[in-house]
Structures are given as structure tokens and as C-alpha cells.
């Protein structure tokens, strides 16, 4: 009895782990259902385990009968208690497995029901080693393109359509749902229903190359009103430079090396093969979770990305100090 209590307590303690990347977090519908299922499985299996261990200990602790005692026929018969115990055990296993199967079935069914009426479509295309995120609301002129982050309204079922531009990646936001692969040439889907407002972290879960470990996602679950506000801000073109330093940075970014890969809406920079930078400064991290967003990190990243994320496709340009200052100033303007 004490053991059970101890186990329960342990699980409760583990589930209370506040974490942005916590598979036991259960902050999304699917994630929560899996945590419940996981708990249920653990309890049943723990009970079974304890019964087996108990039986084993009991068998080990029984006094050995003297071998030479003759009690007639009973000498070679098994104890009267073994047969019913065995039958009972078999029944218990069958019932247990059936219960687990049924629980699993109902969990899957509930997850599928969530997928029936998604209110929002988000297209995620994985690249080495960043995430291209596009919101597709149906009206093409209202699509929003961002990178390495997803904002979700709480309580709204979201359909995430997954694709890849190069190799197989895997989309995993532990708090919200399970993993789903992104396979080039094939479209896969996952469905998210966030239940709790908060900040979460996703991670690429399929080895995809040298910087697989630095391919994270910033998920922000917010109220519907906050989400609308964020969406409306994303629809606006990129902010215009306000100071001469920012203007110099704008000129560099939109005509030099940055512009052939990156897109900044409303400017001549129209590259499509690197993260969209239109609202770059409003993100929580740089380079798919490699560095937290901040002035110092921004300087370091722009000056020498290869020292932070060696092998990634952003080259070390070798900016002169004044160019570096102006570029960072302009990037910080892009809220």
C-alpha cells in the first residue's frame, strides 16, 4: 500500500515539472490524453509488476518441504492453491491487456475527433536547420509567413500540415502532442489543441544533419485576442527604418548578401531559401532556438553565424564594424 502511494506521489511530482519542453506537461489536448494514458498504463503495469514480484518473493521465502516425506499420492501433486491462482492470473492478464487496449483505442479516437474540425491551418516546412511556418487562413491575401515560431490561440483545434524541403525531420512539441515526421515529397499532418496559455519549446526529433540539435521551435499559446493582435501585426509589412543608422542597415540588408536568401516583406529583399525576417525582432530566439533574442546575441550571430551554428547555411560574411552596427540596428527595428 505504501509503495503504491509512493509511486502515485512520484508521478504527481513528475507531472508538476514546470518545463517548456516537457512530455509530461499535458498542455495540449493530445499531449494531455497521452499523459493520462501513460499514467494509466503505469498504474496497471505497476500493479502487475508488484503482484509478480510478490509471488516470486513468496515462492522464495516458503520453507522447503522435506524431500523424503511420504504422504501418499500428494507427494507428486502440485499444491491445491496453484491451479486456481494460475487461472486467476491468466484472467487478470487478459482483462488487464483488454483494458489497456480499450484505453488506447479511446485515446486515439478522441485525438481523431479533434482533427475533424480544425479552425486554423498552419503549414510547416522543415529545412536544414530551420522551420518555415505559414498560416493559411483560406484567403490567400491574408497568409502570414514566419520562421522558427508558432503562435497558437488557446482552445482552438489547429491543423498542422507538414512538409520538408530536403531530408526527413520530425515535428515534436512535447507539451502539446506527439512526434510527426516531415518527409520530402510527402505531406503529413498533426493536430494541436492547446489547453493552457504559456510558452513551450518544440524540437526536431529526427536526425537531419550536423545541426539537428539546434533546430528548435518557439511555441506561444495565447488567448484568442492576443493571437489576433499578433496575427494582425504579422500581416503588416516590415517596419521602415527610422534612424540614419537603421537606414544604412536597411540599404545593406536589402541589396547585399542578406537579400539573396532572406525575405523582408515590403522591401527589395525577396529571398525564399532562408527564414523570413519581416518581423524577426519579435521572436524569442535566433536561429531556431540556438540563441535567445537579444542585442549581444544578435551581434554575435550576424557577425559570425558559423561560430554559433557551424555548418548551417548562413555564411560568415565578414562585415565591417559600421556595417555590423547598422545591420543589427535595422534588424532590431523589425518587430
Amino acid at each position: 500500500m505504501t509503495r503504491l502511494v509512493a509511486i502515485f506521489g512520484l508521478m504527481l511530482w513528475l507531472s508538476g515539472c514546470a518545463g517548456v519542453q516537457n512530455a509530461l506537461g499535458g498542455d495540449g489536448s493530445e499531449g494531455a490524453r497521452f499523459v493520462d494514458l501513460f499514467t494509466f498504463f503505469t498504474i496497471i503495469c505497476t500493479i502487475m509488476y508488484l503482484l509478480i514480484v510478490g509471488a516470486l518473493l513468496f515462492a522464495l521465502s516458503r520453507r522447503r518441504r522435506a524431500a523424503h516425506t511420504v504422504e501418499g499420492r500428494r507427494h507428486h501433486q502440485t499444491s491445491a492453491v496453484v491451479k486456481p491462482v494460475l487461472v486467476g492470473w491468466l484472467a487478470l492478464v487478459v482483462v488487464g491487456l483488454t483494458v489497456l487496449t480499450v484505453a488506447s483505442f479511446f485515446t486515439d479516437r478522441s485525438n481523431a475527433a479533434d482533427a475533424r474540425n480544425p479552425a486554423l491551418l498552419v503549414k510547416v516546412t522543415a529545412n536544414q536547420w530551420w522551420w518555415d511556418v505559414e498560416y493559411s487562413p483560406g484567403d490567400p491575401s491574408k497568409t502570414v509567413r514566419t520562421a522558427n515560431e508558432i503562435h497558437l490561440p488557446v482552445g482552438v483545434p489547429v491543423h498542422v500540415r507538414l512538409n520538408s524541403n530536403d531530408v526527413i525531420h520530425s515535428f515534436w512539441v512535447p507539451n502539446l502532442a506527439g512526434k510527426q515526421d516531415l518527409i520530402p515529397g510527402r505531406t503529413t499532418d498533426t493536430y494541436l489543441l492547446a489547453r493552457k496559455v504559456g510558452l513551450y519549446r518544440g524540437q526536431c526529433a529526427e536526425f537531419c544533419g550536423v545541426q539537428h540539435t539546434r533546430m528548435a521551435l518557439d511555441i506561444t499559446v495565447e488567448s484568442k485576442a492576443d493571437f489576433q493582435r499578433w496575427y494582425a501585426a504579422q500581416l503588416k509589412p516590415a517596419a521602415a527604418p527610422a534612424t540614419p543608422l537603421e537606414l544604412a542597415g536597411y540599404r545593406y540588408v536589402t541589396t547585399r548578401e542578406c537579400s539573396v536568401c532572406h525575405n523582408i516583406s515590403g522591401t527589395p529583399a525577396g529571398g525564399q531559401v532562408a527564414p523570413d525576417l519581416s518581423h524577426f525582432a519579435s521572436r524569442r530566439s535566433i536561429a531556431a532556438g540556438t540563441l535567445p533574442m537579444g542585442k549581444g546575441n544578435l551581434y554575435g550571430w550576424v557577425a559570425d553565424p558559423q561560430s554559433q551554428k557551424p555548418g548551417s547555411h548562413m555564411p560568415t560574411v565578414g562585415l565591417e564594424p559600421d556595417e555590423l552596427h547598422s545591420v543589427v540596428a535595422y534588424l532590431e527595428r523589425l518587430k
Binding site: E257, P315, G318
Partner: protein, 164 residues
Amino acid sequence: MALALLALSGCDREERLTRGKPLPETVPASAAAHSRPLDPRAAAYEGNAPAIAQGQQLYAWMNCAGCHSHGGGGMGPALMDDKWLYGGRIDQIAASIKEGRPRGMPAWQGRLTEQQMWQLAAYVRSLSGQVRKDAVSARADEMSNTPPMTQTRREPIEKEAVTP
């Protein structure tokens, strides 16, 4: 055991230059094109598998395939044959990429780093079979087009001909 460790320690066939040498410590590609000896960067990039692989990606991203296809040409000349208007050595190719050329080749100076231009030049060299077969990519990243580069016959490059 010791022998195995010894053998394994010498494993890297080539150096993967992640940060490259972006600042031109050596002579810029254009000047080197018409002088001998060969630019020392050529040795670092020619036949360097990670450089060629990165060049293959850049070839698609920078729309080189839009004009030169996968070596067959089109708006731009073919890159898989033996005819080179502005020279077929790796430093001459890098110079063409950097400076642009009169009949329509855009100038990439200021839009690509030196390292990226050399990576592209290394890849372009492989299109005509100039590069060791164990350094090239065996398959295209998109719809299969030319025969695999691991089986490409080496095209004889004409003597340096520079057409105005």
C-alpha cells in the same frame, strides 16, 4: 587496439571549412585568374566534398539552374561540356561568378561571400567531370537529370581562352 586508434585518428580526408576565409587574405579571385601560380584557395576547394555539396545547394538557391540548367545550358552556356568562354579553372570560374560577364552573367560580388563563390566554382567544376569521383554527389537533389556525376566522363578543358 593501439593500431586501430592510430588509424582512426588520421580519418579526415579533407577539412570542412565552415567559416571559410571570407576576408581576402590572398589575392582576390579576379586578379588571380590571369596570373600564375594558381590561387592557393583553389587547393582548399577543388575536390573538397563538403564544399562541392554546399556548392550544389547554392547552385539551386542562386538560380544558376534557371539559366544553366543542370549543366546543359539554356539562357546561359552549358557547363558540362568542354567549352569555356572565360576559362574553366576553378579560380577563373570563381572570377566569372564574382564579376559577371558581358553577355548576361550577373555579378555576384556583394551578394555572395568569397567562400560561397568558391564553393559554387568547385561544384561547377564537377559538372564536367573534373573532380575526383569520391568527392562528388552521386544524385541530384531534385528530379533526376544528368547521369550521376560519379559516372561523368572528364571533359577536356580548352586552353585558357578568354573571349571579350
